[in-house]
Amino acid sequence: MAASTTARGRPGRRSRSGWRDPWRLAGLIALLILLIFIVYPQLWIVRAAFTDDAGAFTLARFGAFVTDARFTEPLLHSVVVSLAVGAGAALVAVPLAFVMARYRIPGRQGVLTMLTMATTSPPFLGAYAWLLLLGSGGIITKAAREAGLPLPFESILGVGGIIWVGVWFTFALIFLMVYDAFRAVDPALEEAAASVGSTPWRTHAKVTLPLAVPAIATGCYLAAMRIFADFGTPMLIGGGYSMLPVVVYQNFMSEVAASPGVAATASLMMVLVSGLALVAQRRIVARRSFAVTGGRDQPLRELRRGPRALVLTGIWAALLLGFVPHLVVVLTSFLRWQSGILQWEPTLENYRRLFEESLQPIVLSFVFAGIACLIALVLGVVVAYIVARKRFMISGPLLNNLVMVPYILPGTVFAIGFILAFNHLPVILTGTALIIVVAYFIRRLPYVMKSIETALGQVHPSLEEAAMSVGAPPRRSFRDIVVPIIRPAVISGGTVGFLQMITELSATVMLYAVPWVTMTVVIFTNAMQPGSPFGVASAMTTVLLVSVYVPLYLLRRRYKTVSL
């Protein structure tokens, strides 16, 4: 009898004490932030897409996307280019990754470091630099014309150029993922295949390659999505080849024929495509996810001289092509430009002008990315901790799913949502610096949060319980035990987030308002105007590269590996 009365009394008390948990309040605040900055803007996009210009409900815009060539074309173009880039990058990356994973290659660490660097290169850099080289007035095209050499193409502008730039921009991403997968294959599996009479080539085809399929799929997905969501590349070198981010941008920003409704519809198409791509990638990975860890490390085998020379040539050629943009930009930043034409004359003039006239964008880029990074870290820790440790019935799963939404939102779409949602009451942010900061931290939150969640997974709950058992209240044990242990992951996740924010263009170019101009915006607007000071833009890109690679180098030196 007594037991049954206490039974009724207890649950009430327990849930009340549960509500006193400070994590619950933090979770609710985080949830509120995510609802305001992720869900609310998306609702405005949906609303705009289903509203005609007169303000009535319509389905016509989606109809047009299936029937009207003005829309079916960019949709098709975007999908084709993304697939082509994914396939092309895999074609370059997978064989190289396999050879690097299995054979003794001189300079392995250097190659791996350079590939890591290549993955954090600013997204529009390739387009900008290749334009300088192979544009209609480009360095190589002009030199060839003057020398009377025939080039197989007029200029790099067009679909071929986008794919070319895209492949060299993304192959390092696939390489690193697939390389890790090949290294993780337990040699015993291959020895087992050999022991039942499989030839080495057959073993590669039937055992090793299938084991790496999840990594290849994930790498291709990431590569394809990078180019699918990239606004800078098709805008700079598309040469009229229409792709979705450009359609969205032009329909939204154009002063003559602006149609937010069309832009919103195109945005939803983009989200739909990237959502479907994610589903496809998940299915491939889920169906073929084998546990191959454990066991021995792959031994590195020797290559014969001939094949080794071939392999080395391949690796360095790929690296060179991947780093052509960097070299071009750094080189041209030290050369004199006159009304858009390169003079082969070394100078520091570009840097002098940069620091005299355009110091502010540099400072602003650092300030925006820095603040956004700190907010993303704080919110990332809160969300990751709640997802990993707390069993909140409602806010837990909501946070876990909501925080990943920006992962499939291309920057352009993100920006449109922000403009539609925050250019009127109750929240007005357009035209302020804050809108850029908020966009940065929300967009990078999924990445930061995942890296912290992974680190938290390695902090066994008993470590915190042990602290409580010796008298530390939860807040104290979090500070003294959890924070120090996850600090490397937080620093690493934060640094990578910072790098991606400081190189962000797709959303920034739509959200910025004078005077809140960032480095990427300055470079982009310069590259879009023939005859503009390319030298200063190159100098600024060089500054941007330094601000990306110095932190990355420090991080890699300190923590040996960097997960992107």
Partner: protein
Amino acid sequence: MDISIEGISKAFGETTALESVDLSVPSGRLATLLGASGCGKTTLLRIIAGFETADTGAIRFGERDIAKVPVWKRRIGFVFQSYALWPHMTVAENVAYGLRLRRLSKEAVADKVATGLAMVGLTGREQRRPGQLSGGQQQRVALARALALEPDVLLMDEPLSNLDAKLRVEMRREIRRIQQETGITAVYVTHDQDEALEISDLVAVMNGGRVEQVGAPEDVYERPETTFVASFVGSVTLLRGQVTDDGELALGSGGKVGFGRPLGPAGAAVHVALRPEDLRIVEDGRAQFTGKVVRSSFQGGTRESVAELPGGELLAFEHRRSLPTGATVGLVAERFTVVGRDTGVA
């Protein structure tokens, strides 16, 4: 400080982890919660610690009801199965952490850390990181850390299960020594009956979320109250049958065995528990059981063999000299226990 637990129940969703558990541990004694995995022993320990809250029931340390006292104010020491040493702190820092939280002076902290590490035999390892220690050493640090604050109760969750067999025996004696030297009340969770029998003042055998029997190790071993306890603690043969009118045991297979005294009221269904060491081989006609040896294993000091009785029952017994398989043996039970409650076998 004594611990008293009354009517503790706990469910995780649909599954019941604990069902109305009562237990009291007198001050200065070591009690083990013994049972197979999933029996609720760890849940009970975590409720005593305050890591979990019970759905119903009361826990007291001494006179104080601690149901609403959070872990960090309970004055407990907890030793985890995974050691749970903080990897970013040295051995000394691990032990000192709780002391520093109490705002003791630097000298007092250093003093207590030195004493604690000396007690577990780790003097000289102060500046090592947990990762640089062996499993046994890590568990010693965990013990020193748990005891440094001189807690009211010491709780240990399978502290030795990650160690190898020889170290386990050494460490459990060490734990018992330290517990007796400090006179602390302790609760120790284990699935290893040897461990429980060797170090405990009190063994609570748990099964399916209930405590089946609480008693001194000798009681639990020699006078099991349920078939589960009899079969879980030590090696045993359980003969199942009905008490006949003249007090003998009628086996299911039809045979009848007399034990020299009535086993209970006629008609009652009982189990008779026979330990291998309580059976003796006899040559003459006094044998209670006659069976064929079906297997025999040499265990160093003794041999343990199994005889098959005519009805098919298997009876394990201990002896010294070797027996060929197939030989017929006559056995007499020098001691036996009648077990009334059938709770299944382990």
